[in-house]
């Protein structure tokens, strides 16, 4: 070795720079290790962050994967419009597969016509994985969202039935991610595993990312049901309305925003006057309720309901 000019020890990255860099690294590992990955994109805030991270990871090239949305048919018009707009702006391919198609095929059978369809997304997702032969799905799940996710791997292994076995996950050491799979098996990759809700909002603020309007304070007809605010008479993309008030419920027009966006029947807004991202960051810093606690009606069924759904192939 010749004379080495010793570099000075580096300054640490800010936490957002560190998280960003880790996420870019994970996206590039997926691209490097998997032959046919796909990025799940719902138009929600977490997947919008991932799109931004994918730009930083792969531009000036195209993304080495298409985008895919599993549409329950019960999504807010604003979110669907935003989804399409964002995919078009990026010039990337967007695949949409619908739970309603699975219902027509008879692979999804609802108990009641207006039951939440979030859990049925698993079926449609697995069908789409098989249709396109995807070996990896990139998703926006975070470990801080829910107890069952705290032990989730960055590269999470699913068997041929899309099942997640918490006792049979690959050890993950250093940043040596193992995304190998045999045909039919599948990896779920989570680039923002280590992000919290606060990190997501801070990143949206820093990167000046656009969001569907329902994330910001707006007037909406709601009822109070079981301690949660439930939006009522929501127009559907396909026409018609969903979530009529039940007999005896009083419809109130309130200023609310959504902290998380999913199927209309199981996503509740919070009271808020935050009309911009800076105000949402402030609200997030002072809130007393977890993101899923007050806003996801489907997670409260039991203490372990997320874990159960994940075992069945859910994200």
């Amino acid at each position: 070795m010749t004379s080495i000019k010793q570099p000075k020890p580096s300054k640490p990255l800010s936490h957002l720079d560190w998280l960003e860099s880790e996420a870019i690294y994970i996206l590039r590992e997926v691209a490097g290790q998997c032959s046919n990955p796909v990025l799940l994109f719902s138009g929600g805030k977490d997947s919008l962050c991932i799109l931004r991270l994918a730009e930083k990871a792969f531009r000036p090239g195209r993304f080495p994967f298409p985008l895919m949305h599993i549409d329950t048919g019960h999504n807010y018009q604003e979110v669907i419009d935003f989804r399409d707009q964002r995919a078009a702006e990026l010039g990337e391919r967007l695949i949409v597969r619908s739970v309603e198609d699975s219902m027509q095929r008879g692979t999804v059978v609802l108990k009641t016509p207006d039951e939440p369809r979030n859990k049925h997304q698993s079926v449609t997702l697995l069908e789409a994985i098989e249709e396109f032969g995807f070996d990896c799905c990139i998703g926006g799940a975070r470990r801080d969202e829910e107890k069952a996710r705290a032990k989730e791997r960055i590269m999470s292994f699913r068997d041929e039935f899309g099942q997640w076995d918490p006792k049979n996950q690959r050890p993950e050491l250093w940043s040596l991610y193992n995304a190998r799979s045999h045909k039919g098996e599948n990896i779920r990759a989570f680039p923002i595993s280590n992000w919290t809700e606060m990190d997501v909002w801070q990143y949206i603020e820093r990167e000046n990312l656009g969001l569907p309007s329902i994330y910001f304070a707006h007037q909406r007809d709601v009822v109070m049901r079981g301690g949660a605010i439930v939006p009522v008479n929501v127009p559907l993309v396909s026409g018609g309305v969903i979530n009529p008030p039940k007999v005896g419920e009083e419809v109130i027009n309130m200023q609310v925003r959504f902290r998380t966006v999913g199927d209309i029947t199981c996503t509740a807004p919070v009271i808020s006057d935050a009309g911009n991202v800076a105000k949402i960051v402030l609200e997030t810093a002072t809130t007393t309720i977890t993101e899923r606690g007050a806003t996801r009606l489907d997670d409260q069924t039991s203490d372990a309901s997320m874990e159960q759904r994940k075992k069945e192939g859910y994200f």
Partner: protein, 436 residues
């Protein structure tokens, strides 16, 4: 979009990854619960949830350990069987806690948690003092190269906050640390920075708040120690190591400027790089100069450890995923034989007859076991001869490689000194290696 340099000098907003070593009996879950609770990370609905569970189980006070009690499968068994990650933030720093069970049969989980930690909290029960498991945890923290160790003497409330008991435990630990060469030497060249703290996680003494039960202890609280601990890669200067993850060649693009674009994408695992620096691409040894460094739309003049960037070189060099870009003059020799400490992670024992895959940085090679020098008893640190390796065993092993790897010793570089062993038939990660 922002064009500011985010890591400017007055940015007091770094991230620290640390782990906790101990068993449920040492109050590890309570310690984590207390940190989350006292830093106001726990929100009202979660608190309601765990206080309901506490009541259901007939407990008087809220059991903070329930906060880290994750999966249904584990709750049924009443033990923690895997590594869980927790998050909190103080406004000045973001923390990622790796929470791993400490029993002997979970050595692999501890090694997993330790691999990304820059600080370890080793819990000692004040009533019990330095135990076999304390030695085990310390050895593993040492093996996996965690530079900062905080020895937390917990449950001081159960020994009447007695300073003499605390002092005795500290002295015992130091004697043991000296015996295995744990403590950092005066020149800061090797070993670990070791600190001690008395505490009661149950009461909250000396975690976030000092409280007034131990006026004899004038040192920092646990949170103060965490706030001041150096982040990874900030203490020593390291050679520049840039494993190529992905090559960007947007040839299909309509933009004629991009026709010749060839970007080498990856994360700087160590060191720094600047535009104009002379570089060598390994294993082939081609040389060139850095033409540009990009991060998203930004062009950087220089970049450093842990940044994910795109490097553009002056010359057209055939480079692909798995190659490593280093500074010319700092190159590490590609090798086809490595010697390493390996922790076996799989329920299927290692077979010396089989061929495995070694993944090192972004590179893979087929590998055969050369020889097993010895196995380490994690409790006594004795070296034992062995011919096989079972789950949770740690042994010194040599590998013969089909492809050359560009390695550094683990002691000098935790990224380029580490590898995993993959079983090709199951694709499982079955071993973790640290190069000697």
């Amino acid at each position: 979009m922002t064009n500011t340099q985010h890591n400017d000098s007055n940015h007091n907003d770094s991230l620290l990854r640390f782990m906790t070593c101990g068993s449920v009996d040492d109050g590890k879950s309570t310690l984590i619960g207390r940190l989350l609770f006292d830093t106001k990370t726990i929100l009202a609905d979660t608190l309601t949830q765990i206080s309901n569970t506490s009541k259901k189980r007939g407990m008087e006070a809220v059991d903070l350990s329930l906060l880290t009690d994750g999966l249904q499968a584990e709750r049924e068994q009443g033990i923690t069987i895997d590594v869980a990650y927790r998050y909190f933030s103080t406004g000045t720093r973001k923390y990622i806690i790796a929470d791993a069970p400490g029993h002997e049969q979970y050595t692999r989980n501890m090694v997993t948690a330790a691999s990304t930690a820059n600080l370890a909290i080793i819990l000692i029960d004040a009533r019990k003092g330095v135990l076999t498991q304390t030695r085990r945890h310390s050895y593993l923290a040492h093996l996996v190269g965690i530079p900062h160790i905080v020895v937390a003497v917990n449950k001081m409330d159960l020994v009447s906050y007695d300073q003499a008991i605390y002092n005795k435990i500290c002295a015992d630990y130091l004697a043991f640390a000296k015996e295995i060469g744990l403590q950092r030497n005066d020149n800061n060249e090797a070993g670990h920075n070791i600190r001690f703290i008395p505490m009661s996680a149950l009461n909250g003494d000396m975690l976030v708040d000092r409280l007034d039960n131990m006026p004899w202890y004038q040192g920092e609280t646990l949170l103060e120690m965490l706030e001041e601990a150096p982040a990874a890669h900030t203490e020593q200067s390291e050679a520049f190591r840039f494993p190529v993850q992905f090559v960007c060649r947007p040839h299909a693009s309509d933009d004629p400027k991009l026709h010749d674009f060839r970007g080498f994408m990856g994360r700087i695992e160590s060191g720094e790089i600047a535009v104009g620096d002379a570089v060598t691409v390994l294993p082939n040894g081609y040389t060139s100069k850095v033409k540009a460094i990009q991060l998203g739309e930004e062009n950087l003049q220089s970049a450093s450890t842990e940044q994910s960037i795109t490097l553009l070189l002056e010359d057209e060099i055939d480079t692909s995923r798995g190659d490593m870009i280093v500074k010319t003059g700092e190159a590490n020799e590609p090798v086809k034989q490595i010697e390493a400490f390996v922790c076996w992670l799989s329920e299927t024992p290692m077979s010396t007859a089989r061929t495995y895959i070694v993944r090192h940085t972004t590179r893979e090679s087929k590998a055969k076991i050369g020889s097993i020098s010895y196995k380490v008893d994690v409790n006594t640190l004795e070296q034992q001869t062995t011919t096989d390796l079972k789950m949770n065993d740690i042994a010194r092993i040599s590998f013969k490689l089909a492809q050359p790897l560009m390695v550094d010793s683990y002691a000098s570089n935790r990224s380029t000194g580490a590898f995993i062993v993959i079983d090709e038939s199951s694709n499982n990660t079955v071993g973790a290696g640290m190069i000697i």
